[in-house]
């Protein structure tokens, strides 16, 4: 199994991204790169768009599709994009809105990550985070229209292991200092 997991966020609607990842062009791009499954967390307003696609006879390009609106934790779904030979899982891909929680969870798993900021949400610091992460080659930041082309870039980027950023102190050191242990 090679899974592409798309999450549009639970609180705001992101219909444009949903329509894009259900387009024939995008599904073909996934199939070409060996993906077998597409799972979509479509959020509170996405059910209709998703259902319309399933009901219509549009081609699936051999992909198995699944969708759900909301779950308290999407850790399990994200874990399915991690390479695990025993389960027959290949390394997949996560496409998400610029929500910091999802981006962080994706980075921690080390899977290819495409971040698509929602242009309808004027959240400055999320956009800033996406930009900064792209600058450091941690994620691919993409517009809705370009998300199909971003797949190959995201896959090649994650082929190399990126260094963790370390600073001038650590949490353990700071906590120990504040407790003022005798040396």
């Amino acid at each position: 199994m090679k899974l592409c997991f798309v999450t549009v966020g639970a609180t705001a609607s992101f219909q444009k991204l949903l329509e894009q990842v259900l387009s024939s062009q995008f599904l073909e791009a996934l199939a070409k790169r060996g993906y077998t499954h597409l799972l979509i967390q479509y959020g509170k307003d996405g059910q209709q768009v998703f259902q319309n696609f399933i009901d219509s006879n549009q081609p699936h390009h051999g992909l198995t599709l699944g969708g759900f609106d909301f779950q308290p934790s999407i850790d399990a779904q994200m874990m399915m994009t991690v390479e695990r030979e025993t389960l027959g899982q290949e390394r997949g891909l996560i496409i998400c809105h610029a929500g910091s929680g999802t981006v962080l969870a994706g980075l921690r798993l080390g899977v290819p990550l495409i971040v698509v900021p929602n242009p309808d949400l004027a959240d400055n610091h999320q956009q800033e985070l996406a930009d900064e992460l792209e600058k450091g080659n941690y994620v691919i930041s993409s517009t809705v229209e370009d998300v199909g082309n971003a797949i190959s870039r995201a896959e090649t980027q994650k082929a190399q292991v990126l260094p963790r950023r370390s600073g001038n102190t650590t949490l353990a050191e700071s906590m120990s200092d504040e407790l003022s242990f005798l040396d």
Binding site: S100, L104, S166, G167, L171, M175, S180
Partner: protein, 276 residues
């Protein structure tokens, strides 16, 4: 001309009360600023023997804050042998955070001792400072209510707290926070208690009721704030409010390093990514 109140017109009186109010306000502000500056620049002396029991208070907020906090504790290879007792503070109705804390504790105990019975932590609940969509008119009252509850937690008076006997003081040794509104109440509460302790200590010294003990006690109620990983270049509201109040302020992006509340205050420290 002899001075008499009667000779003052209404407008003179108004003017004088204004001047008095402003002077009073300014002096209170000045005292506050100076005491905050002194407090932040006073480093505790190394007095705590290694291996002695320590009590850690972790403030958990809504989903994102809680996730980041637990990632950080996991990432630092949190050692329950050092932080021997943990209190997790959650806001009412936040079952997600409470469950996450329980999972985290269950993992720790399995890793270190191999059995599942764990008496070394509690989860306490306080009312929210401000509920989502709550009006700003009633928010000050709910914030006060939250502040009072936090003060009680700090003093070990919350009904769910059952600190083992080897912990002689009800106050936690260290407080770890990363951003929810409740964190501001907890840190402000810790500062207030420390202020009164300090005040009481110097008053008794001045009155000669007590002499300086050669054995300084280990510091209590020390506070660390970690700005969210999601904040690249600007501090969050909690961050701005806590900048003059916490003992240590850690940031995860270089552009956030070196900030301080005002001249003479401690600067924020760049700690790299603590969550990954």
């Amino acid at each position: 001309m002899p001075f008499s109140l009667a000779s003052l017109s209404f407008w003179d009186l108004l003017l004088w009360s204004f001047v008095l109010a402003i002077t009073l306000g300014a002096s209170i502000l000045l005292v506050l600023l100076i005491s905050l500056t002194i407090s932040q620049n006073t480093n505790p002396t190394k007095t705590r023997p290694r291996g002695s029991p320590t009590h850690l208070l972790v403030v958990l907020g809504s989903g994102g804050h809680t996730a980041e906090m637990l990632y950080m504790l996991e990432r630092m290879k949190f050692d329950p042998q050092i932080y021997t007792y943990r209190t997790y503070l959650v806001s009412s109705g936040d079952n997600f955070s409470a469950d996450k804390a329980k999972d985290f504790e269950a993992q720790r105990v399995q890793n270190s001792q191999g059995h599942t019975h764990n008496k070394n932590y509690t989860i306490v609940t306080v009312p929210r400072a401000r509920r989502v969509h709550q009006s700003y008119l009633t928010a000050p009252f709910s914030t006060l209510q939250c502040f009072w509850a936090c003060l009680n937690v700090l003093r070990g008076l919350h009904p769910d707290q059952k600190l083992p006997k080897e912990y002689t003081s009800p106050y936690p040794d260290l407080i770890l926070t990363n951003g929810p509104a409740t964190a501001v109440c907890v840190v402000a509460g810790a500062k207030l208690i420390r202020f009164f302790q300090c005040f009481a200590k110097y008053t008794t010294l001045c009155l000669g009721l007590q002499t300086i003990s050669p054995f300084a006690s280990a510091p209590k109620l020390r506070t660390i704030y970690i700005e969210s990983w999601a904040r690249v270049s600007s501090l969050s509201t909690s961050g701005v409010l806590l900048l003059p109040l916490v003992d240590r302020f850690l940031v995860q992006w270089p552009a956030q390093a070196g900030r301080r509340a005002w001249w003479g205050m401690k600067k924020t420290q760049y700690a790299g990514w603590l969550v990954i």
